[in-house]
């Protein structure tokens, strides 16, 4: 499912960056305009921002600690690097519609070499540590790959490093570039998955069968795969839906192919919850809007805790029946929920090491 923007804006001076050249070559016929930094293309609303593509340099550091590791939550010591901002898909529940409300344009950063140099310094500075680094926080890791070819720069870079694993997290089936690369076991390709019925809330993303088909194909080409059941969306019939989803996962891949499963319940700020509710027309939220989410003491909306724990337990049990050795972890949950759902509360370090080990063949 290749995304084609209606127009491309390129920062002056970046036309001949690797990304600039690749995009221009692959989007022949798409109008290209330029702009001079610090000017930016004119602001547009969130939906419009997804239909064009901006290519520009990223100013500031690339590598960050995952913001999910906020205080009070069990953290998996994950690092994120943003090569893009926003996403061509339009999931009703996406936090980006809130987080990027004043910076809506879908953007790919052109100074990839600087990002890789920064990552290289971090890895070389701590050879004793095992890093897990993902690119899917502010963007889908692969949705733009057919037009930017970014994975051709990232996968070989990580293939040459012993103390890091790259995670490409996606809702796409854009894996063609990956199939031409040798990751040497240093890249995990992971999919955010939900039952088919939730697909109506994930506009533009690949259907779940296509995601699982893509997982099977990359696995044949030497990649380990991961699955993020996140956000888990409570709905009428969720046990049946998620049970079938896991059946489909294990029909597509063998348990030993899987680096990890993460589980994260639907969570929304009050502002995001209002935006989800206010969506109208074809973009209207569907299943997500009916989930039994309540406002917690921190002001965020989540499925109420008891039901959340029950859902986690159901999923963990189903996963462990089929894949007892594959690491399973919860995302953005406090120790109390870990204890009830997982019957353990690992330290951040323990969890990080467990997942790093899971990434290895």
């Amino acid at each position: 499912m290749k995304f084609t923007p209606e127009e491309v804006w390129i920062e002056r001076g970046e036309e001949n960056s690797v990304i600039g050249r690749t995009v221009r070559a692959r989007l022949d016929g798409v109008p290209i305009r330029d702009f001079a930094a610090p000017q930016a293309p004119p602001p547009v609303d969130f939906a419009t921002g997804k239909r064009s593509l901006v290519l520009k340099r990223h100013r500031g550091g690339f590598l960050q600690h995952c913001p999910a590791g906020t205080s009070g939550m069990v953290c998996c010591n994950y690092l994120v690097v943003n090569f893009a901002s926003n996403c061509p898909y339009d999931c009703s529940y996406c936090f980006l519609q809130d987080y990027l409300a004043s910076n809506t344009r879908l953007t790919a950063f052109t100074n990839v070499d600087e990002a890789l140099a920064e990552i290289d310094r971090a890895l070389a500075g701590h050879p004793e540590k095992q890093f897990r680094i993902g690119t899917g926080e502010l963007a889908d890791s692969l949705a733009l790959d057919p037009i930017t070819g970014l994975s051709r720069q990232l996968v070989p870079f990580f293939a040459e490093r012993d103390n890091a694993v790259l995670e490409l997290k996606t809702k796409s089936d854009c894996i063609e570039e990956l199939l031409r690369l040798d990751c040497r076991g240093r890249t995990v390709v992971s999919w955010s998955i939900n039952p088919e019925v939730v697909g109506s809330d994930e506009r533009g993303a690949a259907p779940i069968a296509a995601r699982l088909g893509a997982a099977a194909r990359v696995r044949e080409h030497g990649y380990r795969v991961g699955f993020h059941l996140d956000p888990i969306v409570e709905h009428d019939g969720w046990e049946r839906g998620y049970g079938r989803l896991l059946d489909d996962v294990f029909s597509a891949v063998e348990p030993d192919d899987v680096a990890w499963f993460s589980l994260g319940s639907l969570r929304m700020t009050a502002s995001l919850q209002r935006q989800v509710r206010d969506r109208r027309g074809p973009a209207a939220a569907q299943v997500v809007q009916g989930a039994e989410v309540v406002r917690g003491r921190d002001g965020k909306f989540r499925v109420w805790q008891g039901l959340r724990v029950r859902m986690y337990r159901f999923l963990i049990e189903r996963i462990r029946q089929r894949a007892p050795r594959v690491p399973v972890y919860l995302c953005m949950e406090p120790p109390a929920v870990w204890q009830r759902a997982m019957r353990e509360v690992p330290t951040d370090r323990e969890l990080g090491m467990r997942l790093a080990a899971g990434a290895r063949w």
Binding site: Q289, G290, G296, W304, Q305, G306, L307, V309, R310, R340
Partner: protein
């Protein structure tokens, strides 16, 4: 309710343009069905928006339109004519909330039963977090003398030894009985 009657109600209750537009976005049948409830109760703009929030969420949950939600909601039994306006509005909101949060409502009702079965002494209360979302319960004991406090705390201790407490915690923390 006819469109003219809806317009009259909207003007009388000074509904905001955005609320009226939201009603119309529901479609003619659903708009009329909501107005059939809202107008006799004289819902103001805030009340109507709260009701619309819940109705739209329920419709999303059931994957149907708002008219279908209202047709099958059993609301006519809840909005008893012998109740005053405020009680009927309260009953409407309570009923919609049960439809909006079926599992949470069932758990809370069962927890209320279990709390009753604990037979906590007079002057004491066991409070769970709002919407069962939180990590702590609060036990509140009121007393006006040392003897009364000792006696009530002892009675609370006995009440909390009952097995219903474990069941209550399991429902609250794990949604399982």
């Amino acid at each position: 309710m006819s469109d003219r009657e809806f317009v009259t109600y909207a003007e009388k209750r000074r509904l905001r343009e955005t609320t009226v537009a939201r009603m119309r976005d529901l479609g003619a049948e659903s708009c009329a069905a909501v107005a059939d409830i809202a107008a006799p109760l004289g819902l103001n703009d805030n009340q109507l928006r709260d009701v619309l929030d819940m109705l739209e969420d329920i419709a999303a949950r059931r994957r149907c339109d708002v008219a279908a939600v209202l047709a099958s909601s059993g609301l006519s039994e809840v909005l008893r004519p012998d109740l005053g306006r405020d009680d009927r509005v309260r009953a409407l909101k309570g009923h919609l909330r049960r439809l909006r949060y079926p599992q949470l409502s069932a758990a809370m009702e069962r927890i209320d039963e279990l709390r009753g079965a604990l037979q906590l002494p007079r002057g004491s209360r066991l409070e769970l977090p709002v919407d069962l979302e939180g990590d702590e319960v609060v036990v509140n004991v009121r007393a006006s003398s040392v003897e009364q406090l000792r006696s009530r705390v002892a009675a609370v201790g006995q009440a909390l030894a009952r097995p219903e407490l474990e069941t209550m915690f399991a429902l609250w923390q794990e949604a399982e009985e």
